[in-house]
């Protein structure tokens, strides 16, 4: 039942891919996520500046890079999906990197809040 080791046969879902709306929506979702990172980056930069915590400012800068990376991943996904071959699911490293960036932001924020309380 489970076609393990069956990578040579293309999945049937590929034959019905639409011309581009789904990849575009997926890229836009990555863009929106990038914008969320930007919002948090601005808050971190402000907090680091006002309270003079270099590590919070550092987080802000990292989140800006994360936002840019998110936009880049959106472009990558669009290109991957535009090729029309291969699995539709994103590689795990993309999701892992996103989770890690957001998680680091959470932990650093808790540390900063506790530190300044």
């Amino acid at each position: 039942m489970s076609p393990v080791g069956d990578a040579a046969r293309p999945p049937q879902a590929l034959h019905v891919r639409d011309p581009g709306l789904q990849p575009e929506r997926t890229a836009l979702a990555w863009n929106r996520t990038g914008l969320s990172f930007v919002a948090n980056a601005l808050l971190a930069l402000r907090a680091g500046n006002v309270n003079e915590r270099w590590w919070v400012t550092g987080l802000g800068i990292m989140l800006l890079f994360g936002a840019a990376a998110s936009l880049g991943l959106g472009l990558m996904r669009r290109a991957q999906l535009g090729r029309g071959t291969g699995p539709a699911a994103p590689p795990t490293w993309m999701l892992g990197a996103t989770v890690l960036a957001a998680f680091v932001a959470c932990v650093t924020a808790i540390a900063a809040i506790v530190h300044d309380a």
Partner: protein, 117 residues
């Protein structure tokens, strides 16, 4: 580690469902980041709103919830993808009502603080 076992089991789902799953993951990440931004903004800007420890508690609570959502986003994506590959129903999650309750509580506390200021 890159070629995880579950990606080769079951059947490749309709690519639109995989992409919808990816966008759902990103929506969870954005929700987490929004909660984080809310918590940080409370701690940073609500200087005249009642006892500071209440705001710190809410801020830390929101940041912690955000961290949980980050990890949960990936786990949920993975579980959905596996369920789709084996043509099983997607599981519900208790996190959505939990999220509503948490947001409601935070809003209620802030509302009370605003009223008794």
């Amino acid at each position: 580690m890159l070629n995880r076992g579950w990606r080769h089991e079951g059947q490749e789902p309709d690519y639109r469902f995989s992409l919808a799953n990816e966008r759902t993951f990103l929506a969870w990440i954005r929700t987490a980041l929004a909660l984080l931004a809310g918590g940080v903004a409370l701690d940073q800007f609500a200087t005249r709103l009642g006892p500071h420890w209440v705001l710190v508690a809410i801020a830390i609570g929101l940041a912690a919830l955000s961290a949980v959502l980050c990890g949960g986003a990936y786990l949920r994506w993975r579980s959905n993808e596996i369920a789709m590959r084996h043509a099983r129903a997607l599981s519900g999650t208790f996190v959505i009502p939990l999220l509503s309750i948490a947001a409601l509580l935070a809003a209620a506390v802030i509302g009370v603080l605003l009223l008794v200021r």
